[in-house]
C-alpha cells in the first residue's frame, strides 16, 4: 500500500508491505526500512528497527481533533501528521499567502467575544480578526493572509464549534 504522509509540513510518499506477523517493510524516500512493530494498547506501537542497531522506540498515534489528522506522541513531543493529502490547518508565522479565499476557523470550541473587522475591510497578514474566548482566556484569531474581508459569519456572543468558519478573507 502507498500513503502520502505529511509530518511537520514535509510530505513523503511511503510504501508499506507486511512481511509476516509484526514485520513490515517500509520504503520512505526511496530507502527501505525493515521494521518490527508491535501494538501497545489501542494507540501505541513499539518499533524496533531491523537495521542491526536494535533501536527501540515507542510511539502513539491518536486521531486528532480535526478530520484526516492524527497526533503522534513521541518522547515528550506531539506532532501533527496528515495522511493522504489532507493539508494541515495549523498556521506558522511564515505562512504568508495562498491564493483565493481563505477561511479563519475556530481552532477550538468557544464563544465569540469580539469581531474586529467588517465585510469589505482590508486586512494585513496576521492582523487580528476575531476574538474567541475558551477556557477563560481570550484568543485573538488572525488573518492567514493580506486581503479583503469577504464574509463575517459570527457576531459577539455566538457559540462556535471547532472548525466553524468565522471570517473569510479573499
Amino acid at each position: 500500500m502507498t500513503f502520502d504522509i505529511e509530518v511537520d509540513g514535509a510530505a513523503t510518499t511511503v510504501t508499506i508491505e507486511a512481511g509476516g506477523p509484526g514485520r513490515y517493510s517500509v520504503v520512505v524516500d526511496g530507502t527501505r526500512h525493515e521494521v518490527l512493530a508491535e501494538r501497545i494498547g489501542e494507540l501505541g506501537y513499539s518499533l524496533i528497527l531491523g537495521d542491526a542497531s536494535g533501536r527501540s522506540r515507542e510511539l502513539y498515534v491518536a486521531p486528532g481533533s480535526s478530520s484526516g489528522e492524527c497526533l503522534v506522541s513521541f518522547d515528550g513531543r506531539s506532532v501533527p501528521v496528515s495522511v493522504n493529502g489532507r493539508t494541515r490547518r495549523r498556521g506558522r508565522a511564515d505562512d504568508g499567502g495562498g491564493a483565493g479565499a481563505q477561511p479563519v476557523v475556530a481552532p477550538m470550541p468557544g464563544r465569540v467575544v469580539r469581531v474586529l473587522v467588517n465585510p469589505g475591510d482590508a486586512v494585513e497578514a496576521r492582523q487580528g480578526v476575531v476574538v474567541v474566548e475558551a477556557m477563560k482566556m481570550e484568543n485573538e484569531l488572525r488573518s492567514p493572509k493580506a486581503g479583503v474581508v469577504r464574509d463575517v459569519s459570527v457576531t459577539p456572543g455566538t457559540s462556535v464549534e471547532a472548525g466553524r468558519v468565522l471570517v473569510v478573507i479573499e
Binding site: I5, S67, C70, F74, S78, A93, P107, P109, A134, M135
Partner: protein, 507 residues
C-alpha cells in the same frame, strides 16, 4: 468530619487524597460536563451542582451549601480558584454551621484588597513596592492619577485593586501611555472582578517572584516555610515553580520568613496562606500580596519540608495545634520543581486545546509526583481553566531535580490533545534556566526571541520514525476498513475518507 470539596480537577483530587489518608469521607460536586470527571470517581459521594458554566455550578454558593446539607458534610474545602478567596462564601459556610477549611472571612476580605493588604504590610514594618497607598476609584481624575504617577516614577504598573492572575494589570513606560493603560486595566478588572478601582506601583526591572508559604493555627502560632521561587512566568502567569530558590541564602530566607509571619500576625491569620514578594537584584525584597488559600504550587513546599499542607489545613480547621518544628519547615531538604501541564498548544501561542483524552499515563518512578485531575476517556471541557496536571520532580540537588523532570516529561503521555509538555521539555534544556539565571521577565523575552518556532522539533531520524509508525497505523486502519466495508473505496484510503465525510456532515 465529612468534607465537601467545592472544586474540581486536580486540586479536588489532591484534597480527597489527604482526606482518605486521614480516614475522612469526601463529597464531590460536579457540573453537567464533569459527570465522569476524575474528582467524581475519587470521592465517596458526588452531587450534581448545575450547568457547565462555572457561574451556575462551581460558583453557585447556594447550590454548594445545599449539597453540604443534603450530603451531611460538616466542613468545606474550597481548593484554589472558584470561591476559594470569596469572603461571602466563607461567611455563608460559617452561617450554615459548616467549618470552612481556610482563613476567616474577615482575613480573606482584608487581604483580598491589594491596597488594604499593602497597608497591613506597612503596619507590620514590611517594605512594599513604592506606589500609591490609596486606590483610585472610578471617579478619580486622570490629572490626579498623573500627579501620583510622577511622584512614583516610570516605568510603573497599573494594577486592579481586586486583581489577580495578571488580569487588570498594565505596565506603563511613560506618562503619555498612562491614561490608556488605566482605561484598559479598569475595563478588564470591571469584567473580571466587578471592581474598577486601580492603584499604581513602581515597576522593578528585573525582579524575582519569591513567596513564603505559611500555616497559622487558632492559638496564634504562625509557621513560615522555606521559600518558593516562581519567577518563570509567561505573561504574568506562573508556569514553573521550585523550592528552594537559587537566589535565596539562609540569611535572606529567615528575613523573608519573619516578614511574612509579621504580615500574617497583623491579620490574626489562620490556616494556609502565602505571602508573595518581589526580590530585587540588590537583595532587597518587597511585599507584593497575600493569597489567602492553598496555592497551585504547594507541592514543591511539601516535597522539601515533608509537610502535608492539606492535612494541616484540615487539622487547623478542626482546632488542632501546629506542632511542627519551625526550624525544619525553614530548612529545605533537597530541591523540588513543578511544571503546570495545560491543555494548550504551545505551537499556537498557547491556544487552549480542549478535547478528548484518548490515552493517559502520567510519569512515575524515583522522585516524581503527579498531581493530575484527568483520566483516559475524559473530555477536557472548554468551561474552566486548562490546567490538567502538575508534575513535580524532587532530588537532593537542583541539577538532579532538573534531570528527573526532563526524564519524567519524556515519559508523560497525554494522547489525543495538545499539552504544554513539549514546551517544558524545551524549557528544561535552556542554559539560563539550568543555571538559575532568570527573573520574571526572562521567559517572555525568550519567547519573543524564538519567533514562534515549534516546540515539537524532530530530527531527520525521528521524523522518519514518526512516518513509519503512521504508515503502519494507516496500513492497519485500511485493512480493518477493507474488512468491514464494501463501499468500493480503495482500501488504503477508505477509513480516512470516511472519517472526513463524517466530519464534513457534522459541521
Amino acid at each position: 468530619m465529612k468534607i465537601l470539596i467545592a472544586n474540581r480537577g486536580e486540586i479536588a483530587v489532591r484534597v480527597m487524597r489527604a482526606c482518605r489518608e486521614m480516614g475522612l469521607p469526601t463529597v464531590a460536586v460536579y457540573s453537567d460536563c464533569d459527570r465522569a470527571a476524575r474528582h467524581v470517581q475519587e470521592a465517596d459521594q458526588a452531587f450534581h451542582l448545575g450547568p457547565s458554566e462555572a457561574a451556575r455550578s462551581y460558583l453557585n454558593i447556594e447550590a454548594l451549601i445545599d449539597v453540604a446539607r443534603r450530603s451531611g458534610a460538616d466542613a468545606v474545602h474550597p481548593g484554589y480558584g472558584f470561591l476559594a478567596e470569596n469572603a461571602a462564601f466563607a461567611a455563608s459556610c460559617r452561617d450554615a454551621g459548616l467549618t470552612f477549611i481556610g482563613p476567616s472571612p474577615e482575613a480573606i476580605s482584608l487581604m483580598g484588597s491589594k491596597t488594604a493588604a499593602r497597608g497591613m504590610a506597612i503596619r507590620a514594618g514590611v517594605p512594599v513596592v513604592p506606589g500609591t497607598e490609596r486606590p483610585f476609584d472610578a471617579h478619580a481624575s486622570d490629572q490626579e492619577i498623573l500627579k501620583a504617577a510622577d511622584s512614583i516614577g516610570y516605568p510603573l504598573v497599573v494594577k486592579a485593586v481586586a486583581g489577580g492572575g495578571g488580569k487588570g494589570m498594565r505596565v506603563v513606560e511613560n506618562a503619555k501611555d498612562l491614561s490608556g493603560a488605566i482605561r484598559t486595566a479598569r475595563s478588564e478588572a470591571g469584567a473580571a472582578f466587578g471592581d474598577t478601582s486601580v492603584y499604581l506601583e513602581r515597576r522593578l526591572t528585573h525582579p524575582r517572584h519569591i513567596e513564603i508559604q505559611l500555616l497559622g493555627d487558632r492559638f496564634g502560632t504562625i509557621v513560615p516555610c522555606a521559600e518558593r521561587e516562581c519567577s518563570i512566568q509567561r505573561r504574568h502567569q506562573k508556569v514553573v515553580e521550585e523550592s528552594p530558590s537559587i537566589a535565596v541564602d539562609p540569611r535572606l530566607r529567615h528575613a523573608m520568613a519573619s516578614a511574612a509571619a509579621a504580615v500574617a500576625r497583623t491579620v490574626d491569620y489562620t490556616n494556609a496562606g502565602t505571602i508573595e514578594f518581589l526580590l530585587d537584584t540588590d537583595g532587597s525584597f518587597y511585599f507584593l500580596e497575600m493569597n489567602t488559600r492553598l496555592q497551585v504550587e504547594h507541592p514543591v513546599t511539601e516535597m522539601v519540608t515533608g509537610l502535608d499542607l492539606v492535612q494541616w489545613q484540615i487539622r487547623i480547621a478542626r482546632g488542632e495545634r501546629l506542632d511542627i518544628d519551625p526550624a525544619r519547615a525553614l530548612t529545605p531538604g533537597g530541591h523540588a520543581i513543578e511544571c503546570r501541564i495545560y491543555a494548550e498548544d504551545p505551537d499556537q501561542n498557547f491556544m487552549p486545546a480542549p478535547g478528548l483524552i484518548r490515552g493517559f499515563r502520567p510519569a512515575s518512578g524515583p522522585g516524581i509526583r503527579d498531581d493530575s485531575g484527568v483520566s483516559s476517556g475524559y473530555e477536557v471541557p472548554v468551561y474552566y481553566d486548562s490546567m490538567i496536571a502538575k508534575l513535580v520532580a524532587w532530588d537532593s540537588t537542583r541539577d538532579g531535580a532538573i534531570a528527573r523532570m526532563a526524564r519524567a516529561l519524556a515519559e508523560y503521555q497525554v494522547l489525543g490533545i495538545r499539552t504544554t509538555i513539549p514546551f517544558f521539555v524545551w524549557l528544561m534544556r535552556q542554559p539560563d534556566y539550568r543555571e538559575g539565571r532568570y527573573d520574571t521577565t526572562w521567559l517572555d523575552r525568550l519567547m519573543i526571541e524564538r519567533r514562534g518556532a515549534t516546540f515539537n522539533e524532530l530530527d531527520d531520524e525521528e521524523q522518519r520514525l514518526v512516518t513509519i509508525a503512521v504508515a503502519i497505523d494507516a496500513y492497519h486502519r485500511a485493512r480493518a476498513g477493507a474488512a468491514t466495508t464494501s463501499d468500493g473505496n480503495s482500501p488504503q484510503s477508505s477509513i480516512w475518507q470516511r472519517m472526513a465525510r463524517i466530519e464534513a456532515l457534522r459541521s
